[in-house]
């Protein structure tokens, strides 16, 4: 039996997806210059890569596991999987570099809305199932998989992005769960660097966080 705390990583990713497409939609409508455009492209590619990894993992591992343990949930899981398919064309349009960024801003706006609806649905329908049917081993394997998906080069930015998106409680739980070196790397280097990146991306200051700026 697991508790909500064990799903911190999963919910952190959701928080990241919920926030970032909206931010990107706004900034991409009017990039300052080439450098800004390049940075936005990079951020967008990163978040889309992560969305792909998240959904791929759900479709290949998480949903089949849950369906195996809770056969009555098969329908709702199939529904969620089909929502992934609805998102695909939007994701494809958002990553089409043939179209200049400002031209993709409306797609990103739409993606922001659809992703949030999808995540609402997922959290309503699946989180209770996960709490009931996943084991600690499953959770541990998921976390490891997520770290592999992040990759060494991207970890600093991904951590920053998630921290800039999560609410205080979720962030505190997730931070406490990190190995000590990662926690320190994050506080000493990754978060300050991400705050600068956030400003360069969105022209405003990243949400302050008492936990990380003490």
């Amino acid at each position: 039996m697991i508790t909500e705390e064990h799903l911190t990583g999963f919910l952190m990713m959701h928080a990241g997806f919920r926030a970032e497409f909206g931010r990107l939609a706004e900034a991409c409508a009017n990039p300052r210059d080439d450098t800004h455009e390049e940075l936005l492209e990079e951020q967008l590619a990163l978040v889309l890569d992560m969305l792909h990894a998240h959904h791929a993992h759900e479709d290949a591992v998480l949903w089949p596991t849950l369906a195996g343990r809770a056969p009555q949930a098969a329908d709702v899981l199939a529904e969620l999987e089909s929502e992934h398919a609805v998102l695909d064309p939007l994701i494809a349009a958002a990553s089409d570099r043939g179209m200049p960024l400002p031209g993709r801003a409306p797609t990103l706006r739409r993606l922001h809305e659809v992703v949030n609806e999808h995540l609402d649905h997922e959290e309503r329908a699946v989180v209770p199932l996960m709490l009931r049917h996943l084991t600690l081993d499953d959770v541990e394997a998921d976390k490891r998989r997520a770290m592999d998906d992040f990759g060494r080069r991207r970890v600093p930015v991904i951590f920053g992005w998630l921290a800039s998106s999560a609410d205080t409680g979720l962030l505190a739980a997730s931070y406490a769960d990190l190995p000590v070196v990662a926690r320190l790397m994050f506080r000493l280097f990754w978060w300050p660097a991400y705050r600068r990146r956030f400003t360069r991306l969105y022209g405003t200051t990243a949400p302050a966080n008492a936990l990380l700026e003490s």
């Binding site: 990079e42 990163l46 792909h52 290949a60 195996g68 998989r145 990759g151 991207r154 320190l184 300050p192």
Partner: protein, 1105 residues
């Protein structure tokens, strides 16, 4: 006439094999041949032929046989003529070889020659001779009589010679590095002749040198068993010694330095890399391993690569191959290079764990240095391959890197047509990616560069990929296999045809991923879920011990050393062999073709699967064990520091002790990365060291060293803003230790033409530290002199220009008193950095000249001093002298390759071209642009900005660009831009806002940007009729009468001060005064060869009459 007996007897006449007759007749010939050139008595012959029991008519039969043989051996002999081959003498017969070629004779001659060559160390010739000798054998010698007792001694002698010859050939091949060849020859040989210890010895060496330590040990185990079982004895001393040496990984096992061909004289002498194991196994093409994954389909991808290879002969080609993990990127390229008829360099970034910076390139360069020994190996590449420089001075970090990058490009160009494969660049270190872009940007005809990455990790590569696509790189996306290909693959792996419906179903399930499919096919049954589960299922099938060993190995990374793994697993290498063999046979791991005793997982997905079930705590403990063993075994090796650090870091949460080890090894890894031209990667390692310092409980003194390291690496990487943050951290940790504080403060000064502070940087920490140092340190110490010199720079930065000269002079005087030339050069450099702006024109030039007169001046400082003198020449209107000195500086920079200084020189060229009206000034940026670091790019942006602004002035188009100027002003807050904006707004009729901007924005401090700002203020004021301000700037400019208006080191040259003052007086209605200034301006600008500003001064002069 030729007689072959090394096999069934063959009599060859005129190139035709002729039958030698019935068995007894053939036996007679064999008998005579064995005793060639000697006469054997007839009764002895009969005795042998009839096995000691000749019948009555034996002698008659013998004569018939002799006569038949004579007809065959001498077909041209006239009847009655005396036979010369099969001769009769006294009571017997003899075979004379004078007129007969015997293959045994040829064999013995070749063997003798081969042995002589071997003794002389001429291995190539040895191998040729012995291979030819063995080629004569067609089976058992004298096969026709092999069961006759009398034949045994000769057959035995020949057989013995053959065995010796096989071993001799193997020895020569081993020396030639042809390990596969040796193994291929000796493996069946020792099975047939298991007691030949020499052969076992050579086989062991061949396995070992090919990097298959486990196979070597396995051979030793087999020979021990055989000898004990058959003879009841132990292996001889040589084999026992060999066994010990293999276990110790003794370097004597490696081949001695071996110039296979006489080494070309142009090869630099310090090239010691022939001693490294990598070198000995490097080859023209990576050997297609026996366990090569099954390969189907991909015709169009191979065609794409073939075409790229063809196109590369006209212009270098870059191909980017992307796809999901397991889709077959590696298999495709392995298949491709087997058909490539050019040298191949192959390097991969490890997906799990880590490797030293530039590791993939190191492998590529080693491959190619071995495959193309004729290619000239530039010094920088040779040094890199033999362990890198001892230390690279911070001032030369970027230059040294670019020189190395250029050298790699030159080397690749010299190899001729070549294919370079860089695998898994999504996991690459920063330096590897930079070198990739550099090589792509300088690719010469003949180079085909192929890089692979995982499709959904491409966001780690956005910058690299866009740089490569700008350079014309082409993308080759690999998707899943089609149904028929799935069917073929499954058929090949499992030996069963799944049929097309089943294949379609499998394709749906695996998305046609060949790795997934092969694993499924090998697993041989229906399994649920994903690829990792299938892999785990297969692992479980190998038994508990194998699973345990593989899980431990997976923690070690994509590659693991058997020796280290044995210690982690708590046993001997011998214990590991059965589980490793099982895993090898299952295709889950393979022996590394690069390193001794190293295995690698067949695919990163196998590692993923093995690690997927284990808890974080379990992994941390195994990491700790691995780290402990690696530290014992390789703890003193720089090239392993990064790997060891990675394991300690993963164990750091277990306590202070592993955390401290992590801290130490991260610091070592950082230093090693700096020596490998990877300052960005070094910075990451320093950060990790600082993070580990907390749980390690390290004190401030230790942390200070780490923060200083971080600061230096960031400056070396050209990341000045982040470098300054690290300097602040170091200052905080230095605390009351003022020597340390000064050391940290000095780092913040950088090594360039300008102080590396962004506009408006808050340098309070630096000011406090150096103020205190100057107050409290004895003035007779070097630290005091440095502190004072840094203080001068800080004063200039904080608007206290009036104190700069005196403070900087004190620093110089202190350094002179100490008689320390290096210190003196540094404080003179800092004095140059401090004396920014118009108020120091003369002092700056004097300091630059003083610096140039110093002995042992580095090329960097010489270039810096010369760039300041270029600006000084221009200020005084001596443009031709400035151009000449700039050309001299260019020559200096061509050898130095310092990108930051090259940029400053380019900026000066652009400024001069704009000033003199030379078209297309921005062309000077082309050669430098690609080489710039992060912060250089900021300077570059400023340079481009200046070009645009100057162009707008010259074209009088500020009004059209008000939005752009406003945005620039908002971002930088530079006062000069406020005035430019006022100018632009005035143009557009927005007078009120323009006036407000002008009145509310005070002039900046008299720093590098003051002159430009004041000039813009003046012209905006003239437009707006703000006479007070016009007068104010006129007064401010008066001290500079007679000079040209120069910003920076010629970033812009805006005419002559007199021109601006003339326009000011015109606006104030003083035509007389204006005329005097403008005449002077016209004179100066004519002399300087000015374009726009001369015309403008003439126009203004016309208005004065």
């Amino acid at each position: 006439m030729r007689l072959n007996v090394l096999g069934p007897m063959e009599l060859v006449v005129a190139g035709q094999v002729v039958p030698a007759g019935p068995p007894k007749q053939r036996a007679l010939l064999a008998l005579l041949t064995m005793h060639a050139d000697r006469v054997l008595p007839a009764d002895l012959l009969a005795d042998r032929l009839w096995s000691g029991n000749p019948p009555a008519g034996a002698q008659g039969s013998l004569q018939v046989y002799v006569s038949n043989l004579r007809r065959r051996l001498e077909p041209g002999r006239r009847p009655g003529a005396t036979p010369t081959v099969l001769v009769s003498a006294a009571d017997g017969y003899g075979l004379m070889t004078g007129g007969l070629d015997l293959d045994t004779g040829d064999f013995e001659t070749l063997v003798a020659a081969g042995s002589a060559y071997l003794a002389e160390g001429r291995h190539q010739e040895t191998a040729a001779a012995l291979a030819q000798a063995l080629g004569l054998w067609r089976g058992t010698p004298y096969a026709d009589v092999r069961s006759e007792e009398w034949a045994q001694p000769e057959i035995g002698r020949l057989e013995q010679m053959r065995l010796d010859t096989v071993e001799g050939l193997a020895a020569a091949l081993l020396e030639l590095g042809r390990h596969t060849d040796v193994v291929a020859r000796l493996d069946p040989f020792v099975r047939e002749h298991p007691l030949r210890e020499r052969a076992w010895e050579l086989l062991v060496l061949a396995h070992y040198r090919a990097g298959r330590q486990a196979a070597a040990l396995e051979c030793l185990r087999r020979v021990r068993d055989v000898l004990a079982g058959e003879l009841g004895i132990d292996p001889g001393p040589r084999l026992r010694e060999l066994e010990g040496a293999v276990l110790r990984q003794d370097t004597t096992l490696l081949p001695p330095e071996r110039p296979a061909a006489p080494s070309p004289p142009q090869r630099p002498p310090q090239r010691t890399l022939t001693r490294t194991p990598e070198q000995t196994t490097a080859r023209r093409v990576p050997e297609p391993a026996a366990d090569q994954p099954v390969f189907v389909g991909r015709e169009s991808a191979l065609e794409f690569l073939d075409e790229a290879a063809k196109a590369s002969s006209a212009a270098g080609q870059v191909v980017l191959v992307d796809g999901e993990p397991g889709v077959g990127k590696t298999s495709l390229l392995k298949r491709f290079i087997t058909t490539a008829d050019v040298p191949v360099g192959w390097g991969a970034s490890p997906d799990h764990e880590t490797a030293p910076a530039l590791w993939p390139w190191e492998r590529i360069l080693r491959d190619l240095a071995a495959a193309a020994p004729q290619a000239d190996l530039p010094d920088e590449v040779g040094t890199f391959l033999s362990g890198g420089l001892e230390a690279i001075p911070a001032s030369d970090a970027q230059g040294a890197r670019l020189r190395f990058f250029e050298a790699v490009g030159t080397f690749l160009g010299g190899v001729g047509p070549v294919t370079v494969v860089l695998e898994d660049i999504h996991a690459a270190d920063d330096a590897t990616l930079r070198l990739l872009v550099h090589v792509a940007s300088t690719a010469r005809p003949g180079l085909l560069l192929v890089a692979t990455f995982r499709r959904h990790e491409a966001s780690a590569l956005t910058g690299t990929l866009s740089a490569l696509s700008r350079l014309g790189a082409r993308r080759l996306g690999l998707d899943g296999l089609a149904t028929e290909e799935v069917r073929a693959l499954v058929r090949e792996v499992s030996g069963r045809d799944p049929g097309s419906r089943k294949a379609e179903e499998l394709r749906g399930r695996t998305a046609g991923n060949p790795f997934f499919l092969a694993e499924l096919a090998r697993a041989g049954e229906e399994l649920p879920q994903g690829v990792l589960d299938v892999v785990l299922h297969r692992v479980a099938g190998l038994g508990q011990e194998t699973t345990r060993v593989l899980e431990l190995a997976a923690v070690m990374g994509d590659e693991f050393e058997a020796g280290v793994l044995a210690q982690v697993a708590g046993g001997t290498v011998g214990d590991l062999l059965p589980p490793l063999d099982a895993a090898l046979a299952a295709g889950l791991i393979r022996e590394s073709s690069y390193r001794l005793g190293v295995y690698e997982f067949a695919h990163a997905l196998v590692t993923d699967a093995l690690l997927s079930r284990r808890s974080r705590l379990w992994r941390a403990h195994v990491h700790e064990q691995v780290a402990g063993v690696l530290t014992r075994v390789h703890g003193d090796r720089d090239d392993r520091a990064a790997v060891i650090a990675r394991h300690w870091l993963a164990a750091a949460e277990l306590g202070a002790e592993p955390a401290r080890m992590a801290m130490d090894y991260c610091a070592r890894a950082a230093r090693a990365a700096l020596r490998r031209h990877a300052p960005d990667d070094a910075a990451t390692s320093w950060q990790e060291a600082l993070a580990a310092a907390e749980p390690a409980g390290a004190g401030p003194a230790e942390r200070f060293e780490l923060a200083v390291g971080l600061a230096e690496s960031r400056y070396a990487a050209g990341r000045f803003d982040e470098g300054y943050e690290a300097v602040e951290q170091a200052l905080a940790m230095a605390g009351a230790d003022l020597d340390k504080a000064v050391e940290a403060a000095d780092i913040a000064m950088g090594h360039g033409v300008w102080v590396p502070f962004r506009y408006g940087l808050d340098v309070a920490a630096l000011r406090e530290a150096t103020d205190r140092a100057v107050r409290e340190l004895p003035p007779s110490t070097p630290a005091w002199a440095t502190a004072q010199a840094v203080r001068a720079v800080v004063l200039a930065q904080t608007g206290r220009e009036d104190e700069v000269d005196a403070v900087a002079s004190q620093a110089v005087a202190a350094a002179e008193r100490l008689g320390d030339p290096a210190l003196l050069r540094r404080v003179l450099h800092l004095r140059l950095l401090a004396m920014q702006g118009q108020d120091f024109i003369e002092q700056r030039a004097a300091t630059a000249r003083r610096l140039l007169a110093e002995p042992d001046l580095s090329s960097q400082l010489r270039a810096i001093a010369q760039l300041h003198l270029v600006a000084d020449h221009v200020e005084h209107g001596r443009v031709p002298q400035a151009r000449a000195l700039l050309a001299e500086t260019d020559a200096l920079l061509r050898d130095l390759h310092n990108p930051a200084l090259a940029l400053q020189a380019a900026i000066a060229h652009v400024g001069l071209d704009l000033f003199q009206g030379v078209p297309d000034p921005a062309r000077h940026y082309e050669p430098v642009r690609a080489t710039l670091s992060f912060s250089d790019l900021a300077y570059f942006e400023v340079g481009m900005l200046a070009v645009r602004a100057e162009t707008l002035i010259q074209e009088d188009r500020f009004g059209e660009e008000a939005e752009w100027i406003e945005e620039m002003f908002r971002r930088t807050g530079m006062a000069g831009l406020a005035y430019v904006l006022a100018y632009a707004l005035a143009d557009r009729g927005e007078h009120e806002r323009a006036r407000r901007l002008l009145r509310e924005t005070p002039l900046p401090p008299r720093d590098y940007h003051w002159a430009m700002a004041a000039m813009c203020r003046l012209h905006a004021a003239i437009r707006l009729g703000e006479t007070d301000i016009v007068r104010e700037v006129y007064d401010a400019f008066r001290p500079f009468a007679g000079l040209l208006h120069v910003s920076g080191t010629c970033t812009t040259i805006d005419g002559a001060y007199d021109g601006h003052m003339g326009e000011a007086l015109l606006a104030l209605g003083d035509r007389e005064g204006a005329r005097a200034h403008l005449r002077e301006a016209v004179r100066l600008l004519e002399q300087a060869g000015a374009g726009y500003w001369l015309a403008r001064a003439r126009q203004a002069l016309d208005k004065c009459t």
